[in-house]
């Protein structure tokens, strides 16, 4: 089911939803979702809750969320490793190590098990020691990990799709009904419509884009498609992602 990716259509929907029957002014909001700096228009009648990395949009029982899902590409992985190293240099050793343990990303998935094991080997050797490692060793581990990111092949669009769907969708119960690239204000989003595998009921929507090595995901958490679809399309087409600055080193 091909879908026209026309920003103008989205803006018209935004305008209609925002204006209702009157002529209220459309208000663009600037916000940050984790690593992403954004501008968007909250659909009229929807409540906006800023949880930092996650932004919720609620209307009655319906809910959409806009989330920074973390690392998308090697660029993001390197950036996160550098941030962990910075924490360690600042004397926050446990925070830095906790960051390492929490690293997630499409390249760290089960399917590339051997590469993942090879990537983590320097860190695993330090963690397995009975005594805390000295600073020279930890520095060597960070250097090895950052250089070790080159072991992973570039993350493809298919890898990213698989990663997002695995993280956000119960793929045993739901399947993709349609998948469409959707250019919005210079960013290319991938939008999927999902439905129940058996009956093709319970339609829902999910869209994501990559920005500066990190994933930004807009999804419907709750609510029937008839009530959420228009607001989802309006919100998605209103999002302007401010391109991330190159990571400092």
């Amino acid at each position: 089911m091909p879908r026209r990716s026309d920003s103008a259509t989205g803006l018209v929907i935004v305008a209609c939803l925002s204006a209702g029957l009157g002529c209220e002014q459309i208000e663009t909001q600037a916000l940050e979702a984790g690593h992403h700096r954004l501008q968007l228009v909250v659909p009229a009648g929807w409540e906006h809750l800023d949880h930092g990395r996650q932004h919720l949009f609620r209307s009655g029982e319906c809910q959409m969320s806009l989330v920074d899902m973390g690392i998308a590409t090697q660029e993001g992985l390197v950036h996160d490793l550098q941030q962990a190293e910075t924490l360690w240099r600042a004397g926050r050793r446990e925070d830095a190590f906790a960051r390492l343990r929490e690293l997630r990303g499409p390249m760290l998935q089960e399917k590339s098990k051997d590469q993942v094991a090879e990537f983590w080997r320097p860190w695993a050797e330090v963690e397995d020691r009975p005594h805390p490692a000295d600073s020279a060793t930890v520095q060597a581990v960070f250097t090895a990990l950052i250089e070790g990111t080159a072991i992973f092949p570039p993350v493809t669009a298919e890898d990213l799709t698989a990663y997002v769907l695995e993280s956000r969708l119960d793929t045993k119960r739901y399947e993709i009904a349609s998948q469409t690239p959707r250019p919005v204000s210079g960013a290319v989003w991938t939008e999927v419509e999902t439905w129940d595998r058996v009956s093709h009921l319970a339609r829902s929507r999910l869209a994501w884009t990559e920005n500066g090595g990190y994933l930004l995901v807009l999804g419907v958490d709750r609510g029937p498609a008839e009530q959420v679809d228009a607001a989802f399309a309006a919100l998605l087409t209103s999002i302007q992602v401010v391109p991330a600055a190159p990571a400092p080193r």
């Binding site: 089911m1 098990k113 399947e175 129940d196 058996v198 009956s199 093709h200 009921l201």
Partner: protein, 277 residues
């Protein structure tokens, strides 16, 4: 008189206009009714078993529900306000699970990445069912598959991995050697009133062979006696590439057309990797 005169002149014109308008209205209503009857929804592809099936669902007044029971997986369309009239299409997923070919192929592909214990667990999962065989041919194939798996297990424990590969290939060949047919499956899936809760409600009618999208099918036009009224109870069974399906219509003759439209739209897309995922 002028007024009356104008009336005398205008009346035939007004009648003509009214007649034309009436004819146009009748034609529009007839066209609308006809297009309503022919109205079909866009085709959807369902992956209930390895073989996908695609068809155009009936119009929106037939409310959709998932159908998962009795070893079948499918979808049911219930006519709103229709007093129990429904159309269903479903696949026999329990029968499909007896087919070990795909599972064996997956295991062969994953073998190198599985640890020893995981491989043994997976080996036990690809065993063929030997209880209640569909036919003597299926029983023979199941025994051959399990014998090859036994050998694979023994060779794996003896660390003879090159023989394990050969054993798995032999199991896969045994699985491929048997393909269920409609003729074999029909006796266990067709309507048999004596197996139903209230056998007296069913009357077997006209049975015939037919085709669905070019594949052989068996159709049965029976009657279901509900407390309110007798209803048509039509069933069509078919087997496509190792998967068995059934389409059922329970309703009045007035709505039978919706069932026929759905059945006429049935297609069997090729199995793709994406679909099987």
């Amino acid at each position: 008189m002028d007024v009356m005169g104008r009336w005398e002149v205008s009346v035939p014109g007004a009648r003509l206009c009214r007649t034309v308008a009436l004819v146009a209205l009748v034609a529009a209503v007839a066209a609308a009714c006809e297009s309503g009857e022919k109205q079909i929804e866009p085709a959807e592809t369902f992956h209930w078993v390895a073989q996908p099936v695609a068809f155009s669902p009936p119009p929106k007044q037939w409310e959709r529900q998932g159908d998962n029971g009795g070893g079948m997986l499918g979808v049911r369309f219930i006519l709103t306000g229709g007093g129990g009239q429904c159309i269903s299409v479903a696949a026999y997923h329990l029968l499909a699970e007896r087919d070990r070919q795909a599972a064996l192929q997956r295991l062969i592909a994953r073998r190198d990445s599985l640890s020893g214990p995981d491989f043994l667990t997976e080996l036990s999962r690809v065993r063929a069912r030997t209880d209640d065989p569909i036919s003597a041919q299926e029983a023979v194939a199941a025994r051959q598959i399990n014998a090859a798996i036994d050998r694979a297990m023994a060779h794996h424990l003896a660390d003879l991995s090159q023989f394990v590969v050969l054993d798995l290939e032999a199991a896969s060949q045994a699985a491929s050697s048997y393909e269920p047919t409609l003729e074999e499956i029909l006796p266990r899936i067709r309507l048999q009133p004596e197996r139903m809760n209230e056998p007296e409600r069913w009357r077997i009618g006209y049975e015939r062979d037919t085709t669905i999208a070019g594949y052989p099918a068996f159709a049965s036009d029976d009657t279901l006696f509900t407390p309110e009224r007798p209803l048509l109870y039509h069933e069509i069974y078919w087997v496509v590439r190792r998967a068995a399906f059934k389409a059922t219509y329970q309703g009045t003759s007035e709505n039978l057309r919706a069932f026929h439209q759905l059945v006429d739209s049935i297609q069997f897309p090729e199995v793709t990797d994406a679909a099987s995922q």
